[in-house]
């Protein structure tokens, strides 16, 4: 193939957000220099780049930072490395081979190890199958924040905000920054998803009504949004508004992973993370690929993505040193309803000697009971929990428990009905 460019590197990192940049920085600190970081956007930094408000960096850099400040700090941390923006990965191929394209056209990049740090995005209007017309003015927080913080544009004057996850409150801060007064915050559940007192702050500091037990019934307007209809259980009401912001319901950005050879943990959201299957070393089903950050399961804080990126770096270094050979077989980690997912989804039995194993979990619906972990049918760990769909829980298991194990199973037992409030 004449003219087709070939590039090689020890490590390729796809995605220059908190996870990817933290990994690159850790590899750099360990003395590795032959690293390529690929970022499809024009600027590195990931989602924090357009979260103009504060709330970042306390754990990582010991000071409270804004999203853009945090993003700059992350980018500064990889100074001297080959960071390529406006570079898109088109295809993941076995053994760390990537088909990419940039302003000079298509190329092949071969790496000994690849980190997938592709992030997550909110579920758009279409995939939520929302009823109504399809006018301009319906958007996710991602687009809203780019318009307001990066472009200084005001898409509407009085939108409604759908959802009450943490990101929904980030949306409120974004709107306040632009001088936009939201009409209401709408949540189908009987309580807000983010931890209290976010709802009280919303009511009293932002003076935005929070409508619980309220479903978005229909979007109105032909050219632009003119209003919405809501269902509060006793008939349909209309709210006038000129925008609808669909917040949260993050999904891993798996567009590259789905058509690839890598195993996924559930494609459609309900069960499974929706991200790639990993082992305790964050290795995918092809051991030359690692995954970290929000690609693993939808949304967590930037701080957690940062820590995962760093953890992935030490696993990548061990692999490059030959200390992490591919496992001949894996111990599967299974789960039962209402557990939505547990990751890592499988355990490399050869790697269970020293470090405790970290598991992460989420429920698919509100549930109270005992979260319990069994190994080959024997309960080895349990804890009383009160789970909410968007609340994650993590726990450690001593690695020695896994020696010779065939199966790890996670379930919620003794479930009590969830309280009304």
């Amino acid at each position: 193939m004449s003219g087709h460019r070939s590039i090689s590197a020890e490590v390729a990192i796809i995605g220059a957000g908190p996870a990817g940049l933290a990994c690159a920085q850790a590899l750099k600190k360990a003395g590795l220099r032959d690293i390529v970081i690929l970022e499809r956007e024009a600027e590195a930094g990931g989602i924090p780049r357009h979260c103009g408000h504060t709330g970042y960096g306390l754990a990582e850099f010991s000071r409270l930072m804004t999203g853009p400040g945090y993003a700059r700090r992350l980018v500064d941390g990889v100074a001297g490395l080959d960071l390529r923006t406006k570079t898109t990965v088109l295809r993941l191929e076995p053994n760390g081979v990537l088909q990419i394209t940039d302003r000079d056209g298509p190329a092949t990049l071969s790496a000994r190890a690849v980190l997938l740090a592709l992030g997550a995005r909110e579920t758009p209007r279409s995939a939520r199958l929302l009823t109504g017309a399809r006018p301009w003015g319906v958007m996710n927080t991602g687009m809203l924040q780019q318009m307001i913080y990066l472009q200084n544009r005001k898409p509407f004057e009085r939108p409604v905000v759908i959802g009450t996850e943490l990101v929904s409150f980030s949306t409120l801060l974004t709107l306040r920054h632009a001088g936009i007064k939201p009409v209401a915050l709408i949540e189908p559940c009987h309580r807000i998803t983010a931890r209290r007192p976010a709802d009280l702050i919303t009511r009293f500091c932002f003076r935005v009504p929070v409508l619980l037990n309220t479903k978005l019934h229909r979007i109105l307007g032909t050219e632009r949004v003119e209003g919405i209809e809501i269902d509060r259980g006793n008939g349909i009401e209309r709210i006038d508004c000129d925008g609808v912001i669909l917040t949260g319901q993050f999904r891993p950005e798996t567009a590259l992973v789905v058509p690839s050879h890598l195993a996924l943990d559930g494609v459609v959201n309900e069960t499974g993370t929706g991200g790639p299957v990993i082992d305790q070393f964050m290795r995918c089903s092809d051991p030359s690929y690692f995954a970290a950050g929000n690609l693993l399961r939808g949304i967590e804080t930037a701080g957690q993505c940062f820590r995962e990126g760093r953890a992935a770096a030490s696993n990548i270094l061990e692999t490059l040193r030959g200390n992490l050979p591919p496992a001949p077989a894996y111990i599967p980690v299974t789960h039962a309803e209402p557990v939505a997912y547990v990751y890592p989804q499988r355990i490399d039995p050869l790697g269970t000697t020293d470090q405790p194993l970290l598991f992460k979990f989420r429920a698919m619906r509100p549930a109270r009971g005992r979260l319990q972990v069994s190994i080959d049918g024997k309960v080895v760990w349990s804890r009383c929990i009160q789970a909410l769909p968007e609340r994650r829980l993590a726990w450690h298991l001593p690695a020695r428990l896994l020696t010779g194990a065939q199966n790890v199973h996670v379930e919620i037992t003794g479930e009590k009905p969830s309280p009304a409030r």
């Binding site: 758009p124 279409s126 991602g142 032909t222």
Partner: protein, 459 residues
Amino acid sequence: MAEIDRSDIVIIGAGVVGCALFRRFALMGLKPLLVEAGGDILSGASKGNSALLHTGFDALPDSLELTCMQAGYREYLEIREHLNLPLVESSALVVAWDDEQLTKLPEIVAKAHRNGVGDVREIGRDNLRRREPHLADTARGAVLVPGEHIIDPWSAPLAYVHQGLAHGGRIHRRCRVTGGDFNGDHWRLETTNGEMAAGLVINAAGNYGDIVEAICRTSPFKITPRKGQFVVFDKPAAALAHAIILPVPTERTKGIVISRTAFGNLLVGPTAEDQEDRALAEVDQAMLQHLIAKGTEMLPALAQQTVNAVYAGLRPATQFKDYQIDFLPERHWITVGGIRSTGLTAALGIAQHVAALYQQRFDGTTTTRPIWTPVPNLCEYRERPYQTPAGGDILCHCEWVTRQEVEQALAGPFPAGDLGGLKRRTRCMMGRCQGFYCGAEASRLADERWSANNAQAAS
């Protein structure tokens, strides 16, 4: 007094039919004016169809619709390389899911043969399974229609407009015709852009066809828009069906179709819901879930696929089965109404038919060498700009649309007129993220371009 905009022919409505008429009359040397109420071409019925090139195998025998479809099909194949229009040669299968449907297959084959589509034939269950291994076990047999293909609904009309413009035609967007009268020699049309004079008016107003017709006469037909909702699945789903999967039709509708799209997705739809409103094409959660359930019944692996986009289109149905094409020479008026879902295929054939009607009564037409105006390729099954060394960087990461493609769609003599138009010309913002990543940047580029245009127009 403002100067009156004069032209030989005014075509009302820039749907696919209006665009094809515009091209045809411009090629005849007549310098037509195309007026469109929406912000860009294809703002109405033509934006939401199933994007298929039909053979006419199941059309009403001896109908004008069949004649126009088959003429349109032939001309599309003749001109598509000159205009860079895609063709995904997929074939179609009319699948029988029970014994009763199985008994209807021979009728379908007989009708196809009667309609001149001689290569249509019945295939057995094993043959069907080999062709479409992902179909549910309950599929009993099928009729194979080798000539049914997938095209892209937006490139062709755009190419027709470009060619019409190259041959001296003009187009006004955001220009709604509100009334008019005929003085025995020409029409004076009232529009939202002022008064216009036209030697001849062609009504191709789609869902507004009967309202526009009332300018000339009591409309012989009434439009009852028939809504069709669609679900578009993400790219991996396209591997689940090679052919277009059609159901055995009922009296009322052709039923729910599963088809790949030229953009590399898989589409399930349409529904058929009559409504009064001519503009509002709402989607409905229960109906979308129904479509997904129906699709999954036929293609079980669809349960593991994710939805990219949903849309609804309004088809201009009338009380008649056939097209309503009428020439009123004394009134200098041509009616082209009731063109339903087959319009994408038939448009070029309708234009031929209307041109012939015109030439029977009027002269002044000339034949010129066509100027070809190829359009950018949107089809996933052919090389796209991002795959070429000169493509530049990518702006829309889901559909892999380059920044250059977006900039080009906003530049030139006929730039995109609104965001819907920009999406249809480039595919940007139409992928799985629906603008989460690129929506801000794409809409900024568009707004910049449009405010520059407005400033220019104002100065």
